[in-house]
């Protein structure tokens, strides 16, 4: 049911590639970030459904902005209600960050120093990532991934604007 809910924003995957750099492409990038994040969370577990739904709604809003080229281009990702995430949620967040980094590296080049802000958070995640992590470690991994996702979203907006 959640996947059908998110189908409305699936244009985000194509639109960001079709537009030229500018406000509309930044809005399409924001939609792409939200749609990717929501899809990964929706696949992960039931408890992620409220956040995934909020992200799908955001993706649709950003798609409308991309089509009309109006409004603010600053993306605010919805916050988690808790500090500690489940292992499935962390996997979804990590896959999202990997996907965003891959897109950015393709767009600006693998050697671009601006990727360092995202890579630093991925390195932190790698340092802490073990099978069956304790709640303390999951909180640390979740914080690093949250910072990384915000950094990747902001970098994309800066590069595509």
């Amino acid at each position: 049911m959640l996947s059908s809910y998110g189908r409305h924003g699936s244009d985000a995957y194509d639109l960001v590639d079709r537009l030229a750099n500018g406000r509309a492409r930044v809005a399409a990038w924001n939609a792409y970030v939200c749609q990717t994040y929501a899809d990964k969370l929706a696949e992960s577990c039931e408890e992620s459904a409220p956040l995934a739904r909020a992200l799908y709604d955001l993706a649709r809003t950003w798609l409308e902005h991309a089509r009309t080229s109006d409004g603010d281009t600053r993306l605010e990702l919805p916050a988690w209600g808790t500090l500690v995430r489940s292992q499935e949620q962390l996997v979804a967040m990590r896959e999202t960050l990997d996907a965003l980094r891959t897109y950015l590296a393709f767009e600006i080049g693998e050697d671009d120093p601006r990727l360092a802000t995202v890579d630093a958070q991925l390195a932190t995640v790698d340092e802490l990532w073990i099978p069956r992590p304790t709640p303390e470690l999951r909180a640390g991994i979740g914080s690093a991934l949250t910072i990384g996702l915000k950094a990747a979203a902001a970098l994309g907006a800066a590069c595509l604007g």
Binding site: T124, E127, L128, I130, P131, R132, P133, T134, E136, L137, A139, G140
Partner: protein, 141 residues
């Protein structure tokens, strides 16, 4: 790696003495009950108070605050030990007992534990609480 013997001891420039413990086991928390919940003491100090109730109250106090919490810890300790052995997570606790008891917790992984311990000890010896790469600092327990 031991729960009962500090891996390091450190004294800060201000004279604070810290013991650093490294372990894979998170000991079950001691949860005593509120004795007021176990025994009704509303009549205490009044004419209704019966001195014969005193032994019952003392027994109830020990039951709620010693025997039950101890039984809980004894039952949960093997689970905590097994869970710790299966995990690659390592807890580093810094304990200070004076002027007041304080326990700071870092969590890391077995591969980073020696380096993280060195950095924490070096930081505390300079009076600083550091956050080494590859660890999560969760603050006072």
């Amino acid at each position: 790696m031991s729960l009962f013997r500090p891996a390091r001891t450190v004294t800060s420039p201000s004279g604070d003495y810290w013991e650093l413990y490294v372990s894979k086991t998170a000991l079950p928390a001691w949860r005593g009950s509120d004795a007021d919940d176990a025994v009704d003491v509303s009549g205490y100090g009044s004419a209704q108070f019966d001195v014969l109730e005193l032994p019952v109250m003392v027994l109830a106090f020990f039951w709620a605050n010693l025997i039950l919490p101890l039984a809980r810890v004894v039952l949960m300790l093997p689970v905590a030990v097994v869970r710790g052995r299966r995990s690659r997570a390592v807890r580093i606790e810094a304990l200070r007992t004076f002027p007041r008891r304080e326990v700071l917790l870092w969590t890391t992984t077995d591969g980073h534990a020696p380096r993280v311990l060195d950095e924490i000890a070096a930081g505390l010896s300079q009076g600083k609480i550091v956050r080494p790469v590859g660890s999560v600092y969760t603050g006072p327990e």
